[in-house]
Symmetry: D2
Subunit: 335 residues, 4 copies
């Protein structure tokens, strides 16, 4: 028996989650939903995902463009065991899901308070087991948790300072700038630190952030005061054993976010995505008990496998988080 | 019996040509060659392409990085029926190929005079039939020929003025700028016009060019004085029947080079490439016998199918250019 | 006696027009007006321009930030002989000016129909003589008229095709993108051609346009079919004698919009502006009766001297357009 | 009596230092020197700076372009009391200056070991007093010293972690990229920390750095563990009294490097430069004894006043660093 997954919001994240669900043997896409008749609605048709209209406003337009509409959003809610909400932040669908009596999960654009449960596969899978409403944390927070959580449990962390150098727009988003500026996020510390703590409250972390004119990946410069003075090799070994963390080396020509993207294309990754957190092996160093490292985050896709794991936890399909991670990775082609 | 293809230069174009050759039933990759031990050399290993070192200088480095080396470039030349040269322009390998007695083809960075034969699948496949040395014209020239040649033969052209708005660097190339500038190519007219004429001398075309700070596609604004005053629909019908020309519509949300790239990723195209020339249906218009249109060119991949066709022509594998085009397209997954 | 000029809208254009008015001996700034209490309102205070609030909504905020407010917009209208409207397009102040009985001029963001009179200093100064309402055409249209009008009168033009490669945002505008895309303007031909004709209907011109990720200057690639086959030198001589057209040469290192901006800074131009249209001498060429050239347009400042001339015409301060141009240029430090 | 200053290298830094020297009452520009006949050589002529050729190779070219050449570099060395070397790094002129018996100072591209004395006006003016050879530290190091040194002396610093988000090219530099990438500097910690310590060895500082696709300013995210837990106001007061540190506020619309540049243009700063370090008042915060702040660095001009002070120290023109700073600032129009 496979779990029936509906996806509300078929854009940057929704289309990726749909494909990832379809790649798993224990779940299926019963439908995707979207408001406007862009080419992505047609894409859903082509990929064989039943398409549901999120609003009556554009029904004529779907018809005009020859996009086959299976029904309305409430039909999808009725057909699904669980909804992955990939709509823009604050879209406000929770009461609708509650009324339909369907489980639901959201993305990191929403606040922790929406669900009271923020999720990371490695850190708190158990908490989400059987839960009705879960928030998968943002791409940046997911990235921080993937590399910090094993250090937290294995070595212990006194303090983390992370500076997030953020891409300003997704590749397809031609409206947003800046074109030639660095924009600091002047709320200090930035919201990313508390967001990490919404999953693991014990990690002492402060973050700052700036926006820069790129479209392809966020980059973090992270400084960790360790509880114990281990050597660099110890940290690298730890990450070697951590799922969804992948090493790159400048000495092999991969010395920028652009080169990581090229690698992902060359590897044949769908959409050129990289679901892993990219850590530079030759940019990692421990000095006097302080760890310095850089990591790059593919903002459109690192949270996709976390969404799959969250489905498994919420639907009580698999008790062990490591087994879910393994299944998800195998289905998605993550090493 | 399959034709044995060697690729000298395993970079942006070389890696794409290798994959395209591997997708054809009537040819195979007998090896690829490269000078330096970047991750792309390892990629060749992983994909099962026999790897040959283009220079003795880096043999130790290949060894050190665990990249399996099958032999030297001359070994590859001996093993191959034909070499696709994808080395940087003016690399100067022609005498070496001549000495080895192997057929060879080059990319558009080289001058017409190197081979005396510049190639486009649609326009002059016959000329390349059985030829020993051929140059496949550049991405921009290929783009111009794909849309202009059918107009030239079907309607007739009085004059073409094309302005090429060129991306300044490939996505992986983090060295090249500009970051915030428009750089005009002050040699007027630019070399693209004569390059079109190196394939079809009868087309009266002048071009100018500017470089802009993007990495993803060239864009052409083309103005064609037609010999006959047809309507816009006539032109669109013509292109509808032309291989490797694909329509996009702003009304479906595809209103920029960035959105075309997104479409290509969503379609599942390998590396997010688009081998077709992208023409905006709602940006095409005939007024008083003058045709205006915009087209976008994926600089890294539009010439790849042309390379495959050129192999077939030079090796006398297929007499009819339309049949070769069809075979190539089927193998590569081009509609 | 000096003419009293009020400026409504103290942003990108307004602050430049204010300074240019202040530099003229026959006019003075009686006040500037703005809605919101940004640092630019303070700047007006510091420069000694009486400041008027455009709306009551922010009066407290002005007070809080210590910005001295002289009165409201209607006070400014009463004090001024003429208003230069530099508010965002479609702000809709015309009825207010009419009611106040004050002359007014607008910028090129507005439609021709607003005033029925579109202005360029060289081409139709006489038409604006004594007029109550005038629109100074946009930066791009002004640029086209500066170089085309002398050719139109001296040689005659059969047809112009111009491609405008447009910067996407002003340098201070950090909201607008794209970051990595070329966006064609799919309405063909673009509005720039008809806009030229709103000043000189006899010029046969079609234009297309694309937006690119730069902030500093527009660039035009212009192709002119001449009525007479003159040589390149003839064209250069003509422009040499044309005010507000300035030559640059790649052979002296000025081969991009970025280098022109650097030149303007080095020359000591206020704000690094360049009020002239920049034409590449070594990018200009006549071939078989067709003229090819590139020009660059400083979007924030080329229309400023035109605003000054329009004031003189509307206020009947000077009958001869060339004399006004000379006065304006002398005051503003334009060669 | 005025000190005679020669400038070797009349590019980005050299042209600014020349103008700053000319603005001081106690020093004069006896000449500037450059290798190639770009428009900047002509600029020197126009500004009345005697021009000397740095190499015989281009003498004809200077002549051809009508650039007046006063003599060769060694003539300039003979005429000057002190040389400000603004040539590209590792240009290697030291032996030539030694042979000519002229004092000389270099910029931050050079290593500390070249002079054994690295300079900052605030921190170690005395050490440079009477010295023959001095290195003015880089724009980034100058920026760090301006804000850290007063904290070091007033409060005491346990540790500094600074992440430098660096612009990748100067505005005029159209060759350098990246266009769409973030490039981490993988040498950890980066050289900026030790460079700060070349002036003030007692400051415990580690730095990391990334390059981003902008041209206009560097931005630092700085975290300082203070020896004493003061409040935010204390820090702001301290910087208020520190020369060449200037506050900006997002609440007044200045929330990015682009807006700072706009402010500098509006203020009428020559070339739109800003010699001060820009600190965001509303981006500064002390939490539990840790100070967080952002600062922006105008890479082309913050070191210019430091060059002037270094001349005064080396030539023993003024014993008190604060008096030199005041004189320099007054001459250059720094508040």
């Amino acid at each position: 028996m496979t779990v029936k997954v509906g996806i509300n919001g078929y854009g940057t994240v929704g289309k990726r989650v749909a494909d990832a669900v379809a790649q798993q043997s224990d779940m299926e896409v019963v439908g995707v939903s979207k408001r406007s008749p862009t080419y992505e609605a047609r894409l859903a048709n082509e990929l064989g995902y039943p398409f549901y209209a999120a609003s009556k406003d554009h029904l004529d337009a779907f018809d005009e463009k020859g996009i086959e509409v299976q029904g309305m959003l409430y039909d999808l809610l009725a057909a699904a065991d669980i909804i992955v909400d990939c709509t823009p932040k604050k879209a406000g669908y929770k009461p609708i899901y509650e009324k339909a009596g369907v489980k639901a999960m959201w993305q990191g654009g929403e606040k922790h308070s929406l669900t009271g449960l923020s999720f990371n596969s490695l850190a708190n899978y158990d908490e989400a087991y059987g839960a009705d409403y879960v928030r998968v944390v943002s791409c940046n927070t997911t990235g921080l948790l993937r590399t910090l959580y094993p250090i937290h449990t294995d070595i212990g962390i006194d303090r983390v300072n992370a500076v997030m150098i953020r891409r300003s727009a997704d590749p397809w988003d031609t409206k947003r700038g800046p074109i030639n500026s660095i924009n600091p996020v002047l709320n200090i510390p930035s919201h990313h630190g508390p967001d990490v703590q919404s999953v693991v409250p014990e990690i002492n972390i402060q973050t700052t952030a700036v926006k820069v004119p790129t479209t392809i990946m966020h980059l973090h410069s992270v400084i960790v005061d360790l509880k114990e003075d281990v050597d660099t090799e110890h940290i690298l070994d730890l990450w070697e054993r951590t799922p969804r963390v992948k090493f790159f080396e400048a000495s092999q020509g991969v010395d920028s976010t652009a080169k990581i993207m090229e690698w992902a294309k060359d590897r044949g990754n769908v959409r050129g995505d990289i679901n892993e957190i990219a850590v530079w092996k030759d940019g990692t160093q421990v000095e006097d008990g302080t760890l310095y490292y850089y990591q790059a985050i593919h903002q459109e896709s690192d949270i996709v496998p976390e969404n799959i794991d969250a489905i498994r936890a919420m639907m009580e399909m698999e008790e062990d988080n490591m087994k879910s991670i393994e299944k998800t990775n195998a289905g998605m082609g993550i090493e």
